[in-house]
Structures are given as C-alpha cells and as structure tokens.
C-alpha cells in the first residue's frame, strides 16, 4: 500500500532570511512506496521534466558481507549479473538496453549492490522485464565465469596494481582504520580469491542474497504510476522470496588510540597522506553535524582545511575526501569513515601537516562554531542535496530512495534531510567534534614512494 500520496514535485517555499527558525526551502519529492507480497520494496517517483526513466534495483548485499575466503566476491558476482539469465544470454542484457537508447551500469558498495538503466521513458516496461528476468535466476556457464574472472582481474590491475596511489585512500584506509573483518578486508579482492571462485559459489550467493525480499526497486522519471504498478506486479510478483541469513555483527569498537600506518608505493614519486575518523551512528544528531563538519572542514576552496593546508601553508595543491569514499553520507548502513587525503612534497613532513590539521580540528573542538560558518555549511549542504537528487537524470534520487527503503524502510526520509541538517546547532557541532574528531579516534595513512623491502611486506593488511 502506498505510504504517502504524491505531492507537487518540488514544493519550493521561500520564507524568511532567518535560517535558524524557519526552513527557507522545503523539498518535497513525490514518493509512492509499497511492498509486493514477496517482500520487494517498490519506490515510484514520477517527474516529467524529460522523457526519460531510471529503473534501479538495489540488493541489500555489499562487499562488507562476503565469504571470508573469497574477498572481492560480491563485486565479481555483480559482473555475473550481466552474463545471462533465463531469457537474456550473455551480452544480451547490455545490448537490449543500448538498442533501446539507454545506458546502464551496476556497482558494488559497502552495503548494497545496484543495477540500473536510464532509458527513454517509453522503454520502462522493457527495463522492468529485464531486471525481473535476472532476479528470477541466472544461467551462467563455466566459460562466462572464467571470462569475468579475467575482466575483474584486469579491473583490479588497472585500478590498483598498475596504478600509482591505486588504493589510496579509498581501498586501503578502511583496512587500517577498522578492526572488524567485515569492515576491514580487501573488498576489491585478492587476485587469488577472485580466481578461485566457482560456479557453485556464484549460485549459492545468488540464492542467499538476490531475493525480492532483500531488494528494492526504484523507478524515477516520466511515467504513470498506475501503469508502472501494474507492470511491476506482472513481472516481479511471481518471484519467490527466500529465507535471509541473520545479519552479521558489523560493529566497530570505539577507537581510543591514534593509529599510524605507512605503505611503500613503487609507482609513486611524491608522498601522500590521508587521515580518517569514524562516523557517528546514522540518523543521530551527531551524524547530521558530521555532515556539516565535512562541509566546513573539507568541501570547497572556502573550507578550513583547504585554507590551512593549501592556502596558508602550501603543503599541497588540494585536499579531497568526505564521508564514504564509495558513495556519500546517505548510501551506507554500518560503520563508516570520514576521510581526508592529500599529496605533498618530500620536503614536508607528516608531522608538519598533522600539526596544521590539529590546529584546525582542535579549534572546532574547543568552542561552539561561529554561526556564519555553520550557515555557510548548511547552504553548501543544501546545494549538494539538490545535486544528489538531480544527478544523472534522476538516478541520484533513485539511489537515495532505494537506500532509505532498504536500510530504514522509509524512502520519504529524502523529504526531511534538509530539515535534519537545519536542526544542527553550534553546540551539537562542538559536542560531535569533541567525541568524533578526537585525535585518539584518528587513523593516519602515509604513502611513501619507493619499493617495498621484504620486511615491510610482512606488516599490515594487504
């Protein structure tokens, strides 16, 4: 049953210039949310701006939860979803979308794997039929698996093994900053694990996680909701649900001591440095405050770290990073890091850089933040929220709503995000910085140019 009716598309209400007491703008995205009897969560968000439609299927299985002796399996499996199903042979899914004038992709993230198509709006039924076809089951041969093991092996080589700074910091930082295996293993995968995967394992993974009651389907764009509902019932309602395994314990212990790790990179020729802090629990006041701290500290040339590290000290040409290096602050469900990364010259030491970082961060921990800085961070966040929603022809909106449906059973959270950020006060920012931006909760990762000595190779995670 629909949880809420449609509203006018974007209800933009101008109000007073006083940020703090009144919302200057309220976003209301029309959301129709219901579940099929088999448990599939369905989110419909009509928008007739362009004659296009996004169809996105999200499965609640990411790389955190993959077999322990098969690192990289969740991602390898994502590739297998393009290798054939009952009515679509290898390459036929991709060709079907292309021939109908659309683009498609899939990706594996911390807590979900997604598959999506952006098509001319008259092709919605084609996309729904194709996604349902591969939700029903795969038809994969040994040969297709071998082929994709080769492709994924090449992906890892291109991104990591043959690339200076390849896993810096996105792949490596979680391995040092986290202590629970689910959060700290090599989720791109060791080549030997990728090569060892078997067809039986592919089948077992599909049966365990790729069931309608472990998935969300989001449709965003130019369509009639009643017609879409009928098509969704026709193609998806007959797919049986499955018994889902209990979720593993993903929790990270509170970090009480600063960690410093270093890696040698034989392909690099300048040192690099990253540091990360653990995020507060999702949806807590501190979580929203951390979103604004990210804006204040790191996002944009006006940010405190840019001004300190780039402009004032000239240590680096840019600072980059944010919450969730493989997505954003809304599309994960578990422990997460806020990460900052930069490249520097050999003449500058990590101690100099970290001392400048401390100056900035300790300033925010010592006293409530200035209202004008907080206001600017809210403006930047508002702008970034609109970008997320409009991104890639409505895919950004599908992404947020599918995640909120899977993680919170509530895609309408998208409507209240702006208000959640506006509720953050200087006091909450201070409290958040005091607990979550503690030096003792920080992990520092240093990249040193040069070949690894045999002794170094024994240390630390891969």
């Amino acid at each position: 049953m629909p949880r809420r009716g449609s509203k006018t598309f974007l209800d933009l209400r101008r109000a007073s210039s006083c940020y703090r007491t009144q919302l200057r703008m309220v976003i209301a995205v029309p959301t129709i949310y219901y579940k099929l009897p088999n448990g599939l969560r369905v989110i419909l968000s009509p928008d007739s701006t362009a004659p296009t439609v996004v169809t996105a299927v999200y499965y609640r299985i990411g790389f955190r939860v993959e077999p322990k002796d098969r690192t990289g399996f969740a991602h390898l499996f994502e590739h297998m979803m393009f290798q054939g199903s009952q009515n679509l042979g290898k390459m036929e899914f991709i060709r079907l979308v292309q021939e109908n004038g659309g683009v498609l992709n899939g990706s594996t993230r911390f807590d979900f794997t997604n598959y999506f198509e952006l098509l001319p709006s008259n092709k919605l039924e084609t996309a729904l039929w194709a996604e349902a076809d591969r939700m029903k089951g795969l038809a994969i041969t040994e040969e297709n698996l071998k082929n994709q093991q080769g492709v994924v092996g090449n992906e890892v080589k291109a991104a990591i093994l043959n690339q200076p700074y390849g896993g810096f910091p996105w792949l490596w930082m979680p391995q040092y900053a986290n202590s629970n295996w689910y959060n700290s293993h090599n989720f791109y995968g060791e080549l030997k694990d990728i090569e060892a995967a078997t067809l039986d394992e592919v089948e077992a993974f599909f049966k365990t996680y790729y069931a309608p009651n472990n998935a969300a389907l989001a449709v965003v764009g130019d369509f009639e909701p009643e017609q879409a509902k009928a098509m969704i019932a026709k193609y998806f309602a007959g797919i049986p649900s499955a018994a889902l395994p209990p979720p593993p314990d993903l929790t990270e212990p509170r970090q009480d001591e600063e960690r410093v790790a270093s890696r040698k990179d034989p392909l690099a020729n300048r040192p690099a440095l990253a540091f990360a802090y653990h995020m507060p629990p999702r949806k807590s006041p501190e979580y929203y405050a951390m979103g604004l701290l990210d804006q204040m500290l790191l996002q944009g040339d006006d940010s405190l770290l840019y001004q300190e590290l780039v402009k004032k000290n000239g240590f680096t040409g840019d600072v980059s990073g944010g919450i969730n290096e493989l997505g954003g602050m809304f599309d994960y469900d578990g422990p997460m890091l806020w990460t900052v990364a930069l490249f520097h010259d050999a003449g500058v030491t990590p101690e100099q850089i970290l001392s400048a970082v401390d100056t900035v961060v300790e300033g925010l921990r010592a006293k409530p933040v200035e209202q004008s800085l907080l206001d600017r961070s809210v403006t930047k966040m508002r702008s970034s929220l609109y970008d997320s929603m409009a991104e890639f022809g409505g895919f950004g909106r599908a992404n947020l709503m599918a995640c909120f449906a899977l993680f919170d059973d509530d895609p309408s959270r998208i409507d209240s995000l702006e208000a959640d950020f506006r509720r953050v006060t200087p006091h909450v920012v201070e409290r958040t910085a005091q607990e979550y931006l503690r030096k003792t909760a920080r992990t520092v990762l240093l990249i040193e140019p040069g070949a690894e000595s045999p002794a170094d190779a024994q240390e630390g995670p891969e």
Partner: protein, 442 residues
C-alpha cells in the same frame, strides 16, 4: 550454474512509441563589448550552471610556455582588484557553489554550479574573476610548487604517459601536442608571464557565457551589469593544426608493469564535415559503446581488459579517433590483433541493418540524455556546436541524420578514415615482455 530453464525464450516487451522530445530552447544575445551570451531555462531543481568560455588555453602557449595557461587560471582564483582569494572562495560557497577556473587546449572556462536564488550574485563574482583578476605575485611560488607536484604525479600514470606520447606524435609542432612542460620551464615562469598571458588572451570579445538551469531573478540585468565594463579586446589568433597521419609504433617502457596501456588512433573528418556524424555512428559500433565489436571481443569474449573504449576527440575544427585499452601484459599482442581484426572486418563487410539499427537507437537515446541530464551537459552540447563553428541546427537535426545512416555508409567511413597503415600506436608496458608480441605491428 545448475539452474536450468526450459521452454522458448520470451521476447522483451517493446513498450509504446517514444514521446516527442523538445530540445531546451536557448536564448542568445551579445553585449556591446562583443561577449556572447546564451541562457537556457531547464528543469525544476533549483540549481544554475554558469560557465564563461574564453577562447584561450594551451593553444596560445609557445613551446617554452606549456602550462602557463594553467598557472594563469590558478592565479585568477587568487583574488581580484577588490576581493582576496579567500573572499572569492567564501562568496562562491555562500551561493552553494565553487569558483572553478579550468583550462583546456582551446578554451579556459570560469564558473560553477550554484543555487538558483544566488544566480545573479555568482554571475557578478564570475565577471570579477574574469575581468579584474589580481594575479598576485605572493601566491606564485606556492602555485608553481603545486603544478610541479601535479606534473610529477601525472608522469607516474601509465595512461597519461601513453596519451602524451600519442598527442606529441599526432601534433609534433603544435600546442595540441604539448601535454607536459619541462619542469625547468615551469619553475622559470614569472608573474609577468602570467600577467602578459592574461592581458593578451582574456577579453569579452573572446568569451561566450552560458547560463543553464532553473532561472531565478533578473539574470539579463545581472549579466549586463557584471560584464558590460569588460573590454572587448582583439580577436583570437587562428592556429590551425595538421595532425600527422602515419603509421608508427612506440613503446614506453615500464618494467614490471602488470598491464600494457594501448593508445592508438589517427586523424579523421572534422566536426564540420558531412562524414562526422556517420563517423560517430561507426565509432559507436566499432569500439565506442559497451556492446560494440571491440569491447565484445577483447572484454566479453577474451577477458583481456576491463574498460576498452574508442572515441572521437575534437580540437578546434579537427577530430581524431582513438582506441584505448589497458590489457594484461601477456595478451598485448593478441589484443592488438583483435582490435585490427575488428577494424578490418568492418572494412570488408557492412554491418547488418539490425546491428546498425541498435547503434542508431542507442545514439538517439543518448542524445536525449545528453540534452537533459544536467545543466552542465546542456551547456556542453551548445558549447561544442558553437566552438566548432557549426550551425545550431546541428543539434535539431542530429537524430534525423543518425537515423539516415546506411550500413554501406558505415563500411565506407571505416574504410576511408580508420586506416591501420596510418595509425599511431603507443604502448606503455614492460618492453622486455611485450617486444616479441609487438613485432608484427612494427
């Protein structure tokens, strides 16, 4: 896997006929100082993209001035006659955006994407950065150090090295072929060099401002107020290039590399040519899309590579075709063999009408996406047409022209333009391991 399905296969549902698509309608005008302006109302998300393209960039650098345009652009963000660099950054952030000044071979752009309600304010800021930059000497050493670091890191990236060698070979005596400066040149740039570069090349008469998105407030007035005082300047110099069309094989040795980075291609018909759109269709079928022949072959059949792609790149009034692929070292030769096999197959036989129709439908759909996906994408489409001196009807007639291409046209442009004996081939990889594999391609 063991899951078995019986019975005949279902046919995918086709859906109803497509809805009509109207291109967003731009409004064009010029200011008295010669600056062209295009405004495109689009969408309902309250964001606005503002991009001013100045016709200058790498093209205006002499051989000893490579990246001087980049240094000048970096200095332009560091403040104006009345604003410090920090103020520029802060005021841009207050509009929900950032001041971005970026250089390319033919254009330098200034602008950003901001909240619509702050459009007029941001337009004024863009004008100030373009017309009144302080180019402060105090920031010069830091920015040069940043560029030197960027240069050093760029030189460690294998794809970038392959691309540099490819462009150097294609454009031996032209700025388009100069991707990296000598570090000593970079260290020698003085503030006077950047000031002269700015003075000689930034002016209203060389600039086209595009504004696209949800329009709020009096943007026309804001644009006139902000830009009318900027001087017209002189017309940009014409520096035509004649890219090399000759076979060569060049290896960049990277001992121990896990992959070989292939970068190969040659000049093709320019955007103004009758053949350009047909070439685009051919490219998409040959290597330019996921379902293309080369990708199907070396990725999906052979597993040699993850992300092979071909494309047609453009510079002012010229174009070149490239195929790139990062392949596992021990299949470097076999990858080249398959790429040439697919090219030659297209020379010999036209594609089937069915295969071509799939590509045509794809490009027609992509065209809608490119013109709707974001305000910046809309600007990109218009800027391409304007920068290449094409008529705006190029966009309105594009889909019709794509759909009119026949299988024999594909074969003809493949044969005419994609000539293996005239291709520049660059391979960055482990020479000791790939030398033998490359022998047939010398």
């Amino acid at each position: 896997m063991s899951t078995m399905f019986g019975g005949p296969k279902e046919i995918p549902p086709q859906g109803p006929p497509p809805k009509p698509f109207q291109l967003p309608t731009p409004e064009d005008f010029s200011l008295p100082n010669g600056m062209r302006v295009t405004i495109v109302p689009y969408g309902i998300v309250p964001k606005l993209a503002v991009r001013a393209f100045v016709q200058t960039g790498g093209i205006d650098e002499s051989a000893g001035q490579v990246w001087l345009s980049k240094l000048t652009a970096a200095l332009m963000k560091e403040g104006t006659a009345t604003r410090s660099g920090e103020q520029v950054a802060r005021e841009a952030a207050e509009t929900g955006g950032q001041m971005e000044v970026e250089t390319g071979p033919d254009f330098t752009s200034a602008g950003g994407v901001v909240l619509s309600d702050f459009g007029p304010k941001f337009i004024a800021l863009v004008a100030d950065v373009l017309a009144n930059p302080a180019l402060p000497i105090a920031e010069l050493p830091r920015l040069k150090a940043d560029l030197a670091r960027e240069l050093a890191i760029d030189r460690t990236e294998p794809q970038t090295l392959a691309r540099e060698r490819f462009l150097k070979t294609l454009f031996p005596d032209h700025p388009y072929g100069r991707v990296f400066p000598a570090e000593s040149d970079l260290q020698g740039y003085a503030i006077g060099d950047a000031q002269a570069f700015y003075r000689n090349h930034f002016a209203a008469g060389r600039t086209h401002l595009y504004v696209a998105g949800k329009l709020e407030g009096d943007l026309l007035r804001a644009i006139e107020d902000a830009f009318s005082g900027w001087e017209q300047g002189s017309a940009p110099p014409d520096r035509p290039a004649s890219p090399v069309k000759a076979r060569s094989l060049q290896v960049i040795d990277r001992p121990g590399a896990a992959q070989s980075n292939l970068y190969m291609g040659l000049p093709v018909a320019a955007p103004a040519s009758q053949d350009y759109i047909t070439l685009g269709v051919m490219d998409c079928l040959l290597g330019g899309s996921f379902a293309s022949r080369i990708t199907s072959n070396i990725r999906e059949q052979k597993g040699y590579t993850y992300s092979p792609i071909s494309q047609i790149s453009t510079r002012r009034r010229l174009a070149f075709w490239v195929q790139v692929a990062d392949v596992t070292t021990d299949v470097t030769g076999p990858s080249l063999k398959e790429i040439f096999y697919e090219i030659e197959r297209l020379h010999k036989d036209p594609p089937s009408a069915e295969e071509l129709a799939g590509i045509q439908n794809y490009l027609a759909g992509l065209f809608v996406l490119r013109n709707t996906i974001s305000p910046d994408a809309i600007i990109g489409q218009l800027h391409f047409v304007d920068a290449q001196g094409l008529d705006r009807s190029y966009l309105a007639t594009y889909v019709q022209k794509v759909m009119a291409v026949e299988p024999a046209d594909i074969q003809r442009v493949a044969e005419t333009y994609i000539t293996p004996s005239k291709m520049t081939i660059v391979v960055a990889g482990d020479q000791a391991k790939i030398a033998d594999q490359l022998t047939p391609y010398q």
